[in-house]
């Protein structure tokens, strides 16, 4: 019984983490940028979905898509006007993106106030799966995560744009020599990743919460997943998301409920010390 | 097995399946100079990196003055009296010429080796004088032309009082006059019993300096002998001519 619960809840958790982490890994892999605004995109996705669906009565699915679209545009602007100019200095990128995500928190705080919000569920029924009671929305979020990541995988491995992305990830200079517009690749990556974060924000609103600071915790998780999986490795991130998702669930169920937040941090620290390239990374990113 | 000089025995180094050095073996007596040539990617710089401790050899042994240096860190290698320069110059960009040199003069090796009473400032000025950079001591490195940067590399190496210097293409980017001056400096070092291992593409000047030359190709030692022997060696000629245009070889001055 506990095993089944761990299996199901762990899968849901891993799915959401993967949705966030894969985007994060993609940005790092292609653009060599550690983008701490990723959590803010997740938060903005949730708030825009909330504003559209609850305040403006737009149908929920359209609201989520609207959130993704707006965040996509924001991400592209961010890349064009800010990150583009500071890409080469690691600490500037870290601090600037962090400052921007705090900025976003504040803007949202000023507009919506500090109260937590609720986004209605696409599927509001509760289902019983293998004897485990779970919100339909949670299962839906798992399905969406899997579908989105699979689609992304297909795009990257089967399309020309995907090939260009991979080439850029491998060696931006060589890619540029081969006629790939790497600047555009960076921008597209940023947009796609941000869209995935916004989608995650839009679907978790009914069983987690919508609050200005909601992006902070996921960014730490995404970060640890990406480190564990190997910076830049998308396959590695998926496996690492599963590892961390299940590890957290197992710790929560079997050891201590309060130690869950320690899991990603300890994983980061140990991985960095003993295998900085991550378990699936071939080489260090730096 | 001698207690003198450097002995490299069957050193092998691979990167993700690519063999950079394969079973490299040679030895060099104290006070001698040896040149290393080979096409681009032959493993010359990798060999330097392995000897100077920046890379660890997968297999093989390296002995300097009877001491196994295979697992030493770079600064420990310097401490034994082996200094190196880099093919692509690596100055401390935000610092002045003098400050660049003094970092090396502050190393334990330099402190230990210089005459009593001499300060690190004096050591630094001294070596800057030797490479004719003393008039530019306070200039920021970012303003220097390539020739000066090469000499700064050498000054930094000299400030550690080396008995053995590994020079990685010291002549590239130098003018004719500068090349003559550097050749003179190298001869001076030899007179002072310094051992020198030098990678150089400019064969003419190399052959005038080094009575012995090692040829690397695909990480293997292709030939080891006097310039005349090398020039006649069939496989050396094939290795160079087999590449498109004399890739990596510059026979002019």
């Amino acid at each position: 019984m506990v095993a089944l619960e761990i299996l199901i809840y762990g899968a849901v958790l891993s799915g959401i983490y993967a949705l966030l982490a894969v985007g994060f890994a993609l940005i790092f892999g292609v653009a060599r940028v550690i983008n701490l605004t990723h959590g803010a995109f997740y938060m903005l996705g949730a708030y825009i979905t909330y504003a559209l669906s609850v305040l403006l009565n737009v149908p929920l699915i359209l609201s989520i898509i609207g959130g993704m679209a707006i965040v996509f545009l924001l991400a592209i602007c961010l890349d064009r006007f800010i990150i583009e100019r500071i890409r080469t200095t690691m600490i500037n990128v870290l601090i600037t993106t962090l400052a921007l995500s705090l900025f976003a928190d504040q803007v949202i705080l000023q507009i919506f106030g500090p109260d937590n919000r609720n986004i209605p569920a696409v599927i509001s029924d509760r289902v019983t799966l293998l004897g485990v009671d779970i919100a339909g929305q949670r299962l839906l979020s798992l399905i969406i995560s899997v579908a989105v990541i699979a689609t992304l995988w297909l795009i990257i491995t089967r399309t020309r744009m995907g090939n260009a992305l991979l080439a850029t990830a491998q060696d931006p200079e060589a890619a540029q020599l081969m006629g790939i517009n790497t600047g555009r690749m960076f921008m597209i990556t940023m947009g796609i990743a941000a869209m995935m974060a916004a989608l995650a924000g839009g679907i978790v609103g009914s069983f987690l919460t919508v609050a200005p600071e909601m992006g902070m915790l996921p960014i730490i998780k995404a970060f640890s997943i990406v480190i564990l999986g190997g910076l830049g490795s998308i396959g590695g991130s998926i496996i690492a998301a599963l590892l961390i998702g299940y590890l957290e669930t197992i710790v929560a169920y079997l050891i201590s409920f309060n130690a869950t937040e320690l899991v990603p941090l300890v994983v980061i620290f140990i991985t960095l010390i003993f295998r900085p390239a991550g378990i699936f990374g071939k080489r260090r990113g730096f | 097995m001698t207690k003198d000089g450097l002995e490299i025995r069957a050193v092998t180094k691979t990167f993700e399946g690519l063999t950079a050095l394969s079973d490299v073996t040679f030895s060099l007596e104290d006070g001698k100079i040896m040149g290393i040539i080979g096409p681009n990617g032959a493993g010359k710089t990798t060999l330097f990196n392995v000897i100077s401790g920046f890379l660890r050899a997968d297999q093989g042994q390296m002995v300097y003055h009877g001491k196994d240096i295979s697992s030493l860190k770079p600064h420990q290698v310097v401490d034994l009296g082996m200094a190196r320069t880099f093919q692509i110059v690596r100055p401390f960009k935000s610092m002045s010429v003098f400050e660049n040199t003094i970092v090396a003069a502050l190393s334990p090796r330099s402190r230990r080796s210089r005459p009593k009473g001499v300060k690190s400032d004096e050591t630094a000025m001294n070596v800057l004088g030797r490479v004719a950079l003393d008039h530019k001591r306070d200039e920021p490195v970012s303003n220097l032309p390539m020739g000066d940067l090469r000499r700064l590399e050498i000054a930094r190496a000299l400030a550690t009082y080396p008995q053995f210097i590994l020079l990685d293409e010291p002549f590239s980017g130098l003018s004719l006059k500068e090349m003559d001056a550097l050749a003179g400096l190298i001869r001076n070092l030899l007179d002072e019993k310094c051992t020198i291992l030098i990678i150089e593409h400019k064969l003419k000047i190399l052959m005038s300096l080094a009575p012995r030359i090692l040829v690397l190709d695909y990480g293997k030692v292709l030939a080891d002998g006097t310039p005349a022997e090398i020039a006649d060696n069939e496989s050396v000629i094939r290795a160079y001519l087999g590449r498109r245009g004399h890739a990596g070889v510059d026979t002019t001055n």
Binding site: N116, N118, R126, L208 | -
Partner: protein, 414 residues
């Protein structure tokens, strides 16, 4: 080019700015007449309970000022944000005490912050009427070192042990008796004030003939409660008791989602606010909640206060709003009895308070704790019911309806 020019002019501009900063700082003189009585409102001003404090304070101040103020001095309110951190709480207190030169502090939320602020009260000789702090340690400190800590009074809510007692009383004597519930699982937020509660519960439930089969602390920022609820389901408990003073939407949403078949309720500050139904997406259906006041005639002042507040702010008053509102009146009452604003004279007068407020009749124990009981201050128990209304259940003479459970709730007998 433009970048270069910027670099050239920057040093000058920056130096000037810097000098201006310090210049302004030194010559900034706030030497206007100290005519009004300055009251410092201190709390987490960015979040709902803090905003409610501010609103309650403004309402009281406006009413009092309209009638001529306190001993002829108009009230001037000053605010400082504790930002939910003890460190910021200390800075905020310093600002009110030293910069604004307030004569009394009203507010306070989260006992840990007030505990950190305590040493400063004697430094500045500032009375502090604590509105939303429950830890019994606070008044224990008053008892242990009266001279140093006499400045603190608990006004707005009861201390943790009494909260626990009142809650256990409701669960045992009302819900428990009615539905045959004997075993409870207690889930507590990890905080200073719940530490006291945890100890109190085990003994109390036993005294009322009930059994605590599980007691677990969770962290304030918990995001996923599924493991804890799954443990509750297996614990054999017949009811879930919750205790938290921070965000509790996630808790109740996931409780609903996971179809935990047990009645749930307790002390949850967030669940007291009127839009909790909407904020939890209606998933708080069936949750027992409590509040010190509802729109019922606890005292003659309760309903006028409630209506006035709703009219002014278009929102039901939170417990922090009521507490702050009443605290200002308690202060006024004591000042008028003492005939002085001076802390040394005021504190004995405050100790003798017996004031009929919106919350109930406010009086203090010897250790400056709020007196508890039907004649003084007590808690009202209620339930969230579809379609989004709060039905008052207990004490039974104040009830506005009866218990209704959602259909998936399993009860021991019915």
């Amino acid at each position: 080019m433009a970048k270069k020019r910027l670099h050239h002019s920057c040093p000058g501009i920056l130096m000037t700015t810097l000098l201006c900063f310090f210049g302004l700082l030194l010559f900034f003189n706030s030497a206007y007449a100290a005519d009004p009585v300055k009251i410092g409102i201190i709390g987490p001003m960015q979040i709902r309970p803090g905003i409610a404090m501010k609103q309650g304070a403004m309402m009281a101040a406006d009413e009092i000022n309209a009638k001529g103020g306190i001993l002829g001095r108009k009230i001037e309110l000053h605010y400082a944000d504790t930002e939910f951190s003890p460190e910021k709480g200390i800075t905020a207190l310093n600002k009110l005490a030293v910069k604004d030169k307030v004569e009394v502090l009203i507010g306070g939320m989260t006992s840990g912050i007030v505990l950190a602020q305590m040493p400063y009260l004697s430094r500045y000789q500032l009375p502090f009427l604590g509105v939303a702090v429950a830890s019994s340690t606070l008044t224990k400190l008053v008892k242990e070192d009266y001279d140093k800590n006499k400045y603190f009074f608990r006004v707005g809510i009861l201390k943790d042990q009494l909260l626990a007692f009142d809650m256990v009383n409701f669960i045992a004597n009302y819900v428990g008796k009615k539905y045959g519930i004997k075993k409870v699982a207690i889930l507590l937020e990890k905080a200073k004030w719940t530490e006291g509660l945890d100890q109190a519960f085990t003994g109390l439930f036993g005294k009322f003939g009930m059994e605590v089969v599980m007691a677990e602390f969770f962290e304030i920022k918990t995001n996923d409660y599924s493991p804890i609820f799954s443990k509750v389901k297996k614990s054999g408990a017949q009811m879930t008791v919750e205790v938290h003073s921070h965000v509790s939407e996630v808790f109740i949403k996931q409780y609903y989602d996971q179809k935990v078949p047990l009645p749930v309720g307790g002390i949850a500050l967030a669940a007291q606010s009127s839009d909790f139904w909407e904020r939890s997406g209606g998933k708080c259906v069936g949750e027992f909640t409590s509040n010190f006041i509802y729109r019922i005639p606890i005292t003659p002042k309760t309903i006028p206060f409630w209506d006035g507040y709703v009219k002014r702010y278009k929102d039901d008053p939170l417990v922090t709003a009521t507490g702050t509102y009443d605290a200002i009146y308690v202060y006024k009452d004591a000042v008028e009895r003492a005939g002085s604003f001076k802390a040394d004279i005021l504190i004995p007068a405050l100790e003798k308070t017996n004031y009929v407020a919106a919350l109930g009749t406010i009086a203090f124990e010897a250790d400056h704790d709020l007196k508890y009981g039907p004649d003084y201050v007590a808690i009202n128990w209620a339930q969230w019911q579809a379609p989004g209304k709060v039905t008052i259940l207990y004490p039974e003479d104040r009830a506005t309806g009866t218990v209704q459970f959602p259909e998936w709730i399993k009860l021991p007998q019915k």
